[in-house]
């Protein structure tokens, strides 16, 4: 760190080699700090490890946290050292020595920070490509599929095949509903997915912009009207998970949450069977399954038409508007 160059004479005054001390303490503290962050704090990093995507995010946060630790320790150590040892002595009225450029310090600084930033850029890009965008919404045409093939069938599903499970997430003021096209297209207020099976969430909205946020699954995707936003997850632990709306969407935005459930595959298949049966009466009234729905073009019966009614009470997004509002 060549501190003597920045504070000439301060160490010399006491006969202490500041640079050697700082470097030694910094290395020792950094090793301890990195081990603590990676091994002690790491396993508790958000968002937890309830899905492949969440685990990947937790790993990313642990890696970034570990890399940041020596930087934080270096800054705080230098700051503390300066406060403790380089303060003005009583009665010392002399001015500090003028600063000149120091090639060694500048080169070290530029090389060091460039290496860290470039390494993070490479790591971040690889992580974005690899685990399907780290669980974020991937837009209408996801580029990175995490090696997942497109659904071979939009109307049936069997576990452990290339045929990825489709779950449509529909945001509306102010509730989430979920549609399962591969099980007869029923829609329900419950979100249930099987454990250890890749799931493709197709996220859309019937009115304003909402945001589907299944925090512990590592999934967050905006729900935009007229847009299908895709996000993937593979849950690895059975049990409950929370779903929240993460885009201010009106008066009851704060209560737009649900508890989802990750079930065993057999439990999930049984659930789809009972739910399809319970919902059969209303399923046939739903519009045909589609990736987006436009309430201005509903297929309405005679009486509604005679009264001049549509499914869009007020104005609605113009279909001519750009796809991404």
């Amino acid at each position: 760190m060549a501190t003597e160059a920045l504070t000439p004479g301060s160490g010399a005054r006491s006969g202490r080699n500041d640079a050697a001390w700082l470097l030694t303490i910094w290395i020792v503290l950094s090793i301890i700090g990195c081990l603590l962050v990676a091994l002690v704090w790491g396993p508790h990093m958000p968002p937890g490890r309830a899905s492949v995507q969440a685990a990947s995010q937790a790993t990313d946060i642990t890696v970034l946290g570990t890399i940041a630790t020596p930087v934080v320790i270096g800054v705080l150590l230098y700051f503390g050292w300066a406060l403790a040892f380089w303060r003005q002595q009583p009665g010392d009225e002399t001015d500090a020595a003028p600063l000149h450029g120091n090639v060694k310090v500048q080169t070290t600084w530029i090389a060091g920070t460039s290496a860290i930033v470039l390494a993070l850029a490479v790591y971040g890009t690889v992580e974005l490509i690899n685990p399907a965008g780290a669980g974020a919404g991937q837009g209408p045409q996801p580029v990175f599929r995490n090696g997942m093939p497109p659904a071979a069938s939009a109307t049936s599903w069997a576990p452990g095949t290339n045929n990825i499970l489709q779950v449509q997430v529909i945001g509306q003021q102010w509730a989430w509903t979920f549609r399962y096209p591969q099980f007869g297209g029923f829609e329900t207020t419950q979100l249930v997915i099987p454990v250890n099976q890749p799931v493709q969430f197709n996220v859309t909205s019937l009115d304003v912009i909402h945001s589907f946020w299944a925090y512990t699954l590592g999934v967050k995707a905006d729900a935009n009207p007229g847009v299908n936003n895709v996000a993937y997850t593979t849950a690895t632990v059975t049990g409950d998970f929370q779903v929240r709306c993460d885009e201010l969407c009106g008066i009851w935005h704060g209560s737009m949450y649900d508890t989802g459930q990750v079930m065993s595959v057999s439990g999930f298949l049984a659930w789809t069977k009972t739910t399809a049966a319970t919902m059969a009466g209303v399923t046939k009234m739903l519009p045909p399954y589609a990736l987006t729905y436009d309430p201005t073009t509903l297929n309405l019966g005679k009486v509604n038409a005679a009264l001049g009614l549509t499914g869009a009470g007020g104005g609605y997004y113009n279909p001519a508007d750009p796809e991404q509002p």
């Binding site: 829609e187 209560s255 009234m285 519009p287 509903l298 019966g301 009264l307 009614l309 009470g313």
Partner: protein, 241 residues
């Protein structure tokens, strides 16, 4: 102006501003419609709550907004509010007098009755002349038919009740025009009588409810205005111990 007079003026002006801010915060932003307290009227684990829907709110400064009313259990008047208090662990027998015409649901899923006792609602239709016999209904197709006017949904309890509407164009063009729809304003207007029951949870707390028909006509998505204002198409059920 003397110094004391100047100081006094400053203090008065300052207090006026503070009072103005407090008034905005508590009286405008924090305003909440009155709560109809059904607590003392519960008997044997049951309580009867009566509400009304209307095509307009002539008792407020928003006369063209659709709205709910709740009956005051002691005066039997229909008050302009959507807040009511009921006991925990109690069966609530709700009667809703549906005086509004039909509007299609945006999401037909809300046409299914859910979370009520037996997952049904009992509906009687009054066409202006006769009241039909009660029918137990489970599903309404608001796209194919003129079937639903509003819904009463408590998402936190999985409760969803479509409020049946008068069914024909003639009836819809003949709705009660002054609210609340009681005599003499209501001289035999077409309406429905919707009855259902549900059990309140054991945990006290406030459970928000809303309508899922985009009935805020003239507002973006039909979800502004009355849909976004407590006291019209949304409110809270206070469950008390």
């Amino acid at each position: 102006m003397s110094l004391p007079a100047r100081v006094a003026t400053l203090v008065v002006a300052f207090l006026a501003v503070v009072a103005g801010v407090l008034w905005v915060v508590f009286d405008i932003i924090g305003a909440q419609p009155q709560t109809e307290n059904y607590m003392p009227y519960a008997q044997g684990g049951q309580v009867n709550v009566t509400m009304m829907t209307a095509a307009q709110t002539t008792v407020t400064n928003k006369p063209d907004w659709v709205t709910y009313f709740i009956q005051n259990p002691s005066t039997k008047q229909f008050d302009h509010t959507t807040y009511f208090a009921v006991p925990a662990n109690t069966t609530v027998n709700v009667t809703i007098l549906g005086y509004d015409g039909c509007t299609p649901l945006r999401n037909p899923l809300w046409g299914k009755v859910a979370g009520t006792t037996g997952n049904v609602e009992n509906v009687q239709y009054y066409n202006g002349k006769t009241l039909s016999a009660s029918q137990a209904l489970t599903t309404f197709n608001s796209w194919a038919n003129c079937a639903v006017q509003h819904t009463f949904a408590i998402p936190g309890l999985g409760l969803n009740v479509p409020i049946a509407s008068p069914t024909t164009v003639a009836e819809n063009n003949n709705l009660c025009g002054t609210s609340p729809c009681v005599a003499p304003a209501d001289a035999g207007s077409p309406h429905t009588v919707v009855k259902f029951s549900f059990k309140t949870p054991g945990t006290p707390g406030s459970y928000r409810w809303q309508c899922f028909v985009p009935c805020g006509l003239g507002y973006v998505d039909g979800n502004g205005g009355p849909m976004s204002t407590p006291g019209y198409m949304a409110g809270e059920m206070e469950v008390q111990a």
